[in-house]
Subunit: 207 residues, 2 copies
DNA sequence: TAGATTGTTAATCGATTAACAATC
DNA sequence: TAGATTGTTAATCGATTAACAATC
């Protein structure tokens, strides 16, 4: 269905649409329009229609979009009708918070295991998990055919850990460490660094 | 110095440059080039030179950039030569992890207080803080003239809390809640939602 | 000096928006 | 039907890149 090659920036907006649709569905709404959806997200209605048109025709002229239908379609397009297993590397404060966060399953992801290289932590419980040693990480990930990892280790260790992950067959990495990773072309990395956002905003503050 | 109006997308890359420069400085390097910096970040050298040229001339032909000098200049441009006080709202798992994270001070931010509306939590310690009641939140923030807030409350409460923050004089909000906020034009919001990134990546995974 | 790299201009590329025929 | 909203095309806008004179 991806007509030819959909711009990455468009793909990146689909989860946002999904989130807004989910919120609307939760409020019991059944129909929405590109205008309403755009208003919700601060995006023009034209852009939403154009984005969606990359993947097919999901609306009805004069009416708009059926929320549940569009929701299901976007889930299919993003490949999250199914639930993906994810491994979490790093059981520090951040890793523990991530492990305890309950919101993943709802949105298509299940934490399958949490790893740490600190012998004192290995075997300890975090949320519903027991922290595993990184010793057998490669084998274990490969055996379970897990493709997604979340990296919550110090910046200084991130690169080396990412290389292990790639060796284990991981193809998508959510990197919480404030550093850039070098990985092969077939592996995608997304970064989360709140400091980057804070520093971006201070530019606009007075004084 | 911002010649006229610098594109927001350019401003957004400056913290990335800052981070890479900081890493280089940590390795004892003194000089870098747009090419090296770009290689580090996966950005073209032309773009880096163009971005920097929006703010002045920081390099030397034939030589490149003095790392410490450029670092200081970028901090000045982003207004983080000084340390900004930040309030943190929400003392759940995520809020606590944020409160315990030590990396803020290094990069220009100090958590001044942490708030929660749960009476059971108020008064309890988190990291080096005692959780404060949201009852006097508006007055306290206004008195201290704090301009930046991090929002780690459930999505369902985020909008209403953000309205209080705006009333308190907050002008920049880092929103961890998976929802869009409606705030006045003079208030900036940046969002962090790891699920959005995960859902973006699954699009590219096979199967 | 010769080699290297900046800052900047012009060209290219891509993304957003405006507008409207189609149609529910 | 009349009103509304889609899907899509063409126009606009903005961002990235290529190229090179200036110069350290």
């Amino acid at each position: 269905m991806p007509a030819n090659k959909v711009p990455d920036i468009v793909v990146g907006r689909l989860p946002l649409y999904l989130r807004a649709l989910s919120q609307m569905a939760g409020e019991g709404k059944e129909i929405t329009s590109s205008q309403e959806l755009g208003g919700q997200l601060g995006i023009s209605s034209a852009q939403i229609r154009k984005d969606l048109s990359q993947f097919g025709e999901f609306g009805k002229q004069g009416t708009g979009y059926n929320i549940n239908f569009l929701f299901d379609q976007l889930k299919r397009i993003l490949k999250i009708e199914r639930v993906w297993d994810v491994v979490l590397i790093g059981a520090g404060d951040l890793g523990s918070a991530v492990a305890n966060y309950g919101g993943f399953l709802d949105r298509g992801f299940r934490i399958a295991a949490i790893y740490d290289n600190d012998p004192e932590k290995v075997g300890q419980p975090v949320g519903q998990f027991l922290i595993r040693s990184t010793r057998n990480l490669i084998d274990e990930i490969r055996t379970q055919q897990i493709k997604i990892a979340m990296l919550a280790v110090p910046a200084s260790e991130a690169q080396q850990v990412s290389e292990k992950l790639v060796e284990a067959g991981i193809e998508a990495i959510m990197c919480y460490a404030p550093t850039s990773l070098f990985v092969p072309d077939n592996v995608r990395v997304e970064y989360i660094d709140p400091l980057l956002h804070l520093q971006h905003m201070t530019y606009y503050l007075p004084e």
